[in-house]
């Protein structure tokens, strides 16, 4: 083995090692492909992809989506089928219902809360009773059984995420959950990993960006803030979320 080949081998090995370390450690922030690991794209997934396409970049310059898997073992774009195909677009876009109309404790509690079956029946005893999905709900209600929704968004373990704090800080729901109003079937929008959290806590959050992320134009006040570079900075102390 001649000297030249020898050095080639050594440097080669080193180069590969360094490259792989950096790659493995780097959390990419490229836009997500909305198709969750699956072969053919369903109508829902198509709608989702377009929804993401429409989504403006989040407050810190990217959608927060990342190829890096979080503790759920599945990454961004995860879109599990729900027991009841609840169409957010219809309720939010068409019927103009506010998020907290159903997720009522989001601004009172660490826990956003899910609507009780009874609150669905508030309307659906009158409207759209014939739809198959609505029938499912009615049936559940009559049987006094809750509906077991599949969890989509979950921060890693050992983390406290009080929704109420973020709502009071003026963070729009879509900032983390994506434009659910455009999602036929809800999918995980952000990576929800620590770097993603911290980047906002450190760099701060401007209402204008939040509004854009939510999919509507910022109001004048927000824009003035943005012009003056006003950003809401949060505490990034470890004990803020970990205790």
């Amino acid at each position: 083995m001649t000297g030249r080949r020898k050095w080639l081998v050594i440097t080669g090995v080193l180069a590969i090692g360094v490259a792989s370390t950096l790659l493995s450690a780097y959390a990419g922030n490229y836009q997500v492909a909305a198709v969750a690991a699956g072969t053919t794209e369903t109508a829902t997934q198509k709608a989702n992809r377009e929804a993401v396409g429409k989504a403006k970049p989040g407050p810190w310059g990217y959608s927060g989506a990342s190829g890096y898997t979080n503790y759920l073992g599945e990454g961004t774009g995860r879109s599990p089928a729900q027991p009841v195909k609840f169409p957010h677009p219809v309720h939010v876009n068409t019927l103009q219902m506010n998020c907290v109309f159903c997720h009522s404790s989001a601004f009172k509690s660490p826990d956003p809360g899910l609507p009780a079956v009874a609150s669905c029946m508030g309307c659906h005893t009158i409207t759209a009773i014939d739809r198959p999905e609505v029938k499912k709900v009615a049936e559940a209600f009559n049987k006094k059984l809750p509906i077991a929704w599949v969890r989509v968004h979950k921060v890693p373990e050992y983390v406290r995420f009080p929704h109420v704090r973020h709502i009071y800080a003026g963070v729009t729901c879509q900032t983390c959950h994506g434009q659910v109003q455009n999602m036929e079937q809800v999918f995980q929008y952000a990576s929800l990993n620590m770097g993603w959290c911290v980047s906002c806590h450190v760099n701060g959050y401007s209402r204008a960006e939040g509004m854009r992320a939510a999919g509507y134009e910022p109001d004048s006040a927000a824009l003035t803030d943005e012009r003056q570079g006003v950003r809401k900075v949060a505490s990034y102390d470890c004990a803020n979320c970990h205790y």
Binding site: G3, A25, Y26, A27, G195, V198
Partner: protein, 477 residues
């Protein structure tokens, strides 16, 4: 090589003029040293034993991994125990190797020539062993990589103020350098093996390892330079690595740990224990492989002197510790040292003092210095003593701290002992494999001090070269 102008009654064996009178010529060197590579039943037996011990250790570790660290004999606030003790012990063992191969090389101490390969290999394997323990002793070993500074999506870095992080760097550096040093030194010898190898596959491997050594003038020049530079690089490591390890303790405020004397004290102790281990290994080897005429009593004698010196330094360090405790007048510190030597931990302390301070004094007698059997027995005591030195530093300090309410005792469990045994299995497994694959005496360097062909006529030839043991030094010169 230089001829000997003048023959003193007792040769200055610390000089480069180390005679191997029983070694006639290069062929003999090649034959006799390569002969050590022939496997024997005894060797297989030892290897199996080593692997068995390793197996025990590994299974104990897996058990601990599953059950939790509680299965080890920790007794809070004694939060460090056998694992850290053994870690420091093995790191210490490592040092003699580098000292002998690098520092003594720079100082042209000739007696290193025939023992340094052994010591060097010992260093590498000892550091390999030591490196395991910081991970074994973790509560969550599977997260050990959090100590490494690598970019991650948590945007977190290790705490660079923590001595444990310094350890990570110190040990990895040490392992890298000493391995390289060992390997570079091996290149010409591997070439010798390659030339004598008949099996084509092994030949290919050996020729790859020897980087296609062709024994040219140019290669020798580069080789010598490289070796010198590496020696120069490793020299500071001998001092730095164990100083850093000692910071694990010296940086803490725990009485018995919080001392400025620790770095030099640890380095001396490390070399002392290392020489001990060298004796433990080299003496059987020279006997079983009949290499007494390479590793002569002169060499052992010189090494023993080194051993004695370091032992004196260590003993002095012990005394200074006690003195400072008394002189410093910190009552907590005084309580602690009293407890260490005359209280709860008297037995451990006195094992340490006897083995490391008192017994080595016997080396003042030249008779004992030149008596391999005694040296070997002593070396065992030194190994035990040095393990206990670390035990005495780690455990009693933690068991008898500021808060009397939390004073406790400490008793290892079978898990600790198994993993300790396993570490010896791991170390000796590697060493035994090494012994059978590569020359344990540096062929090239021995050749340097063998009288060259021209002088063969003058070279003295004893009738029974194999068991050549000069009764009085220099008798045969």
């Amino acid at each position: 090589m230089a001829t000997i102008a003048y023959e003193p009654k007792r040769p200055n064996i610390a000089s480069a003029n180390v005679q191997l009178p029983a070694v006639r010529d290069y062929e003999q060197v090649d034959d006799e040293i390569v002969a050590t590579l022939r496997p024997s039943k005894a060797w297989f037996l030892m290897l199996m034993t080593a692997i068995a011990c390793l197996g025990l250790g590994v299974s104990a570790f897996l058990y601990q991994l599953h059950q939790g660290l509680g299965v080890a004999g920790y007794n809070p606030p004694v939060m460090w125990g056998v694992y850290i003790v053994t870690f420091v012990f093995w790191i210490g063992i490592g040092h003699a190797g580098t000292l002998i191969s690098a520092i003594l090389f720079l100082f042209r101490a000739g007696f290193r020539t025939t023992i340094y390969r052994c010591a060097e290999a010992m260093t590498v394997f000892a550091v390999m062993t030591a490196g395991l323990f910081p991970i074994i002793h973790l509560g969550r070993p599977w997260k050990f990589f959090w100590l490494l500074p690598y970019p991650n999506w948590r945007l977190l870095w290790p705490q660079f103020k923590s001595p444990l992080v310094w350890d990570v760097f110190a040990i990895s550096t040490y392992l890298t350098i000493s391995t390289t040093f060992l390997f570079v030194g091996l290149i010409p010898d591997i070439a010798v093996l390659r030339d004598r190898e008949t099996n084509p596959t092994r030949k290919r491997i050996l020729s790859f390892l020897s980087f296609g050594w062709r024994n040219t003038e140019r290669e020798w020049r580069h080789f010598a330079r490289a070796y010198l530079f590496l020696a120069a690089v490793s020299t500071p490591l001998v001092l730095s690595v164990h100083s850093v390890v000692s910071f694990d303790f010296a940086m803490a405020i725990t009485p018995g740990w919080h001392t400025t004397i620790f770095p030099p004290y640890f380095v001396a102790g490390a070399i002392f224990s290392g020489i001990g281990m060298v004796f433990t290994i080299i003496i059987p080897i020279r006997k079983w492989f009949r290499l007494q005429h390479y590793v002569t009593l002169n060499h052992l004698d010189a090494a023993a002197k080194l051993c004695l010196t370091t032992s004196l330094i260590v003993g002095c360090a012990y005394m200074v510790e006690f003195f400072i405790a008394w002189y410093g007048g910190v009552q907590v510190e005084q309580d602690f040292f009293w407890n260490r030597v005359f209280g709860q931990w008297w037995w451990a302390a006195w094992i340490m003092l006897t083995c490391n301070m008192i017994l080595p004094l016997s080396l003042f007698s030249q008779k004992l210095r030149r008596n391999p059997t005694w040296l070997w027995i002593l070396s065992i005591f030194i190994n035990i003593g040095m393990w206990f030195e670390r035990f005495v530093i780690v455990v009693p300090s933690l068991s008898h701290e500021f808060e009397p309410w939390q004073w406790t005792t400490y008793a290892p469990t079978w898990v600790d002992y198994s993993i300790l045994l396993g570490s010896f299995g791991w170390f000796f497994m590697w060493f035994l494999l090494f012994v059978r694959q590569l020359p344990i005496i540096a062929i090239a360097e021995v050749k340097e001090i063998v009288a060259p062909r021209l002088k063969r006529a003058h070279a003295h030839t004893p009738d029974n070269a194999d068991d050549y043991e000069p009764e009085t030094p220099g008798a045969h010169n």
